[in-house]
């Protein structure tokens, strides 16, 4: 990328002659990287040798490259900083791809350094060669193949800059082995400017004024926030806005914690498994303020059904392409959510007008009526552990202050529904790609970033086995994670869809030949617990969280037949939910897949 990089002498430190591998180390030091998650191999041996000679950051040796990227991803989600992973060429690189795609879908800033075969061997089908730049192109924000050691420092600087700015995302830097041995002058640019990449940060003030006017005139307002609010660190600004206006707020799966779940203005998560009140308020509002959310298929269901009711939509997002993609909006505001919402607060502070109190009162009365349906209620059983019960107790035992990571499936939805997140960056899950196997490496990333925090990994017996090898990493680095396995002996979400839409044909969704999880945990050097009785749930959680320096693997044997409700069937509208007390298959026709 040519020409416009600002490299005036003043922005450079004193120059030195270093190998490419040493340059990479120095770049990571300059970026104040704390952890590099990685796995060595042939193409990165020079890099690992340079890594051996430094002690500014800690290398976390995972047991599979996918977990390295997930852990770096969670470190970023929990801290807001750029996560860093290091993998070798070929299989190391392809193993990292699921992690990269997961981060890409949720806009998580990562720099992934992959080794590559020597420049002269590229294209020769060399041992452990794969076209990493080609393979990752559709699932990165940007990627680079470094062809000259002299470009290494600038490329690394660009990688960190691109990953973290604008709509964040993963950036891959592919480095051939010979480049890591070549010697070049090291100089790390302090700032960088790229003519082809200039993210818009400040929102258009005319549009912001228009938005505030609309909000003040709303009779049935609704605030809907997503992962962008969390990533943009705009939760305090949003709380202030919502409090000034007295409007109801819903969060997406990715946005949980963006608004405190225990606040009375919070109406719960929306979407496919959202609350009755959130989905109905979303459907029936007259002015909708969307902040860092993207109206995806799991959130608004069928867009035509959503748009069949007239409402005015204001949409704040840092990425112009997220606006009017699935749902046409009326007032688009491109900008950093924090700065835009702060500007709205300033306008409101200077404004004496307030929303129509009567209209708002009526709207809240309507919402409270929806709320009174209490669709989150479930029936406790005296013999079988209900999964919802485990999450509720987890919330109580951890005083609502844990980092909760999850895998993907029913347990993920229950964790999202029943753990009340009051703070952003506490709920760590794969929302976009829906990657099974993220839970344990996600917990590793959180625990490393916050060694004294309570970290719970809510998982299923399907998901946990997709990265189970990381129990070994947890032992090596003494990570006292609490694994909350909701073991229903089924791929629960698959089973649920098969029950509703495939006439109970449970095709390949039963998990047979499960290991003895307690013995397995013990063999890795951890503590294992089997919990089979409902009355033991709370006590066992207390016991586990009291073991502050041990990983505890808690195998909760739960109800096999429990389903996640409410549910908006695929392709249906937000207000067409199946509720828990209705026979699901009646309301939902078998039309869905994926």
């Amino acid at each position: 990328m040519a020409s416009e990089i600002r490299m005036d002498d003043s922005s450079y430190q004193k120059t030195e002659q270093l190998t490419g591998a040493e340059i990479i180390m120095r770049c990571l030091h300059e970026e104040n990287v704390e952890f590099v998650f990685g796995y060595p191999g042939g193409a990165v041996l020079h890099i690992y040798d340079a890594l051996f000679k430094q002690n500014k950051f800690k290398h976390i040796l995972v047991r599979h490259e996918q977990a390295a990227v997930h852990a770096a991803d969670a470190y970023s989600r929990a801290t807001g900083r750029v996560g860093v992973a290091l993998v070798t060429s070929g299989p190391g690189a392809t193993n990292a791809v699921t992690g990269i795609a997961t981060a890409y879908m949720d806009s998580i800033p990562l720099v992934v350094i992959s080794g590559q075969v020597p420049t002269a061997a590229i294209g020769m089908d060399a041992f452990q060669e794969v076209d990493m730049v080609g393979v990752t192109r559709p699932c990165v924000k940007h990627n680079f193949l470094v062809k000259d050691a002299r470009d290494l420092a600038t490329t690394m600087k660009k990688a960190f800059y691109i990953a973290a700015s604008g709509r964040p995302g993963p950036v891959v830097v592919d480095v051939p082995k010979d480049i890591t041995a070549d010697i070049a002058e090291f100089a790390y640019p302090k700032t960088i400017e790229m003519r082809s990449y200039t993210p818009v940060l400040k929102g258009h003030s005319g549009q912001i004024k228009k938005a505030v006017k609309l909000l003040l005139e709303a009779k049935r307002p609704m605030i809907y926030t997503g992962g962008g609010l969390v990533l943009g660190d705009a939760a305090p600004e949003l709380v202030k806005l919502a409090k000034t206006l007295g409007f109801p707020v819903t969060n997406t799966l990715m946005g949980l914690g963006g608004y405190p779940a225990t606040d009375p203005q919070y109406v719960g998560m929306l979407g496919m498994h959202g609350t009755y009140e959130a989905n109905n308020a979303m459907q029936n509002c007259d002015v909708l303020l969307a902040v860092g959310a993207r109206f995806d298929d799991r959130v608004v269901g069928n867009p035509d059904h959503f748009l069949s009711v007239p409402r005015t939509i204001i949409h704040i997002d840092v990425d112009p392409s997220s606006i009017s993609k699935r749902v046409k909006v009326d007032v688009p505001i491109v900008g950093h959510v924090q700065s835009v919402v702060a500007e709205m607060n300033e306008l409101l502070a200077a404004e004496t007008k307030r929303p129509d109190a009567n209209a708002l009162k009526q709207w809240w009365a309507q919402i409270d009526q929806w709320r009174s349906k209490k669709t989150a209620d479930y029936r406790l059983d005296k013999d079988i552990i209900k999964p919802q019960q485990v999450i509720e107790k987890l919330w109580q035992v951890t005083k609502g202050d844990a980092f909760v990571t999850s895998d993907v499936g029913q347990h993920q939805m229950w964790a999202a529904q029943y753990y009340k997140f009051d703070k952003p960056r506490r709920w760590i899950n794969s929302g976009g790609l829906g990657t099974m196997g993220v839970g344990l490496p996600y917990a590793m990333g959180c625990q490393l970033a916050f060694p004294d925090a309570q970290v719970a990994c809510v998982t299923g017996e399907g998901s946990i086995q997709m990265n189970i090898q990381e129990l070994s990493t947890c032992k090596q680095f003494n990570l006292p994670i609490k694994i909350i396995l909701l073991n229903n002996r089924y791929l629960g979400m698959v089973r649920q869809w098969q029950e509703f839409f495939y006439n109970n044909r449970y095709s390949e969704s039963y998990m047979e030949s499960l290991p003895d999880f307690v013995k397995m945990a013990e063999s890795y050097g951890h503590v294992g617990m089997n919990i089979e009785r409902p009355e033991d749930v709370e006590g066992s959680l207390h016991e586990a969280f009291a073991m502050k320096d041990r990983l505890v693997f808690m195998n909760f044997v739960t109800d096999q037949k429990e389903n996640v409700f409410p549910m908006v069937p695929n392709g249906k509208g937000l207000s067409e939910m199946i509720l828990g007390d209705e026979p699901g298959a009646d309301a939902a026709q078998s039309e869905g897949e994926g």
């Binding site: 990328m1 040519a2 020409s3 192109r137 940007h142 193949l145 003519r195 082809s196 392409s321 009017s324």
Partner: protein, 163 residues
């Protein structure tokens, strides 16, 4: 509706594949795509002919702008512009066809740039529809081979796409 989109991008290895990949990954139509460096060798200029509803075109422009290597994007259909495409057609030129091919080529202001015993190669420049019209005017059986460059476009007057 058909749109012609012009863009300037960093002249980097792999830049073309980022654009082509974007179109296939998001299911956008691509009728033709041409690319070559500009007078500033750090930049490439690309012309993409695509079609879609206004919403789709809006997304295409936004997604192109999002590519880190893309410097500027212009939908030529937003204003007045000129479209040109080059086509080479090899046609049968035997017996009475020799005269007829020459005549049709002249009507379309084509140039015969290669003459062989049984064939002519005609060079023709114009908008895509003019080239289509030329092919329509020929009997299918006389066409031996065609090659088209895909459209290039430029704004009229002071509509300038430059960094």
């Amino acid at each position: 509706m058909k749109h012609i989109i012009s863009l300037l991008m960093e002249n980097e290895a792999g830049a073309l594949s980022r654009v082509a990949g974007l179109f296939s990954a998001r299911g956008y139509n691509i009728e033709s795509l041409t690319v070559a460096p500009t007078e500033d060798e750090t930049l490439s200029r690309m012309t993409i002919v695509t079609s879609g509803s206004d919403d789709v075109i809006e997304q295409i422009i936004k997604q192109l702008n999002k590519l880190v290597d893309v410097v500027k994007v212009l939908d030529l259909n937003d204003g007045r512009f000129i479209e040109r495409e080059l086509m080479l057609v090899k046609v049968k030129a035997t017996g009475p066809l020799r005269e007829e091919m020459k005549r049709i080529s002249d009507i379309f202001r084509g140039r015969i740039i290669d003459v062989a015993d049984g064939s002519y190669t005609i060079e023709l420049t114009g908008s895509g529809s003019k080239l289509d019209a030329f092919l329509e005017a020929l009997d299918r059986t006389v066409i031996l081979e065609t090659v088209r460059t895909g459209a290039s476009g430029i704004g009229r007057g002071d509509r300038i796409l430059k960094v």
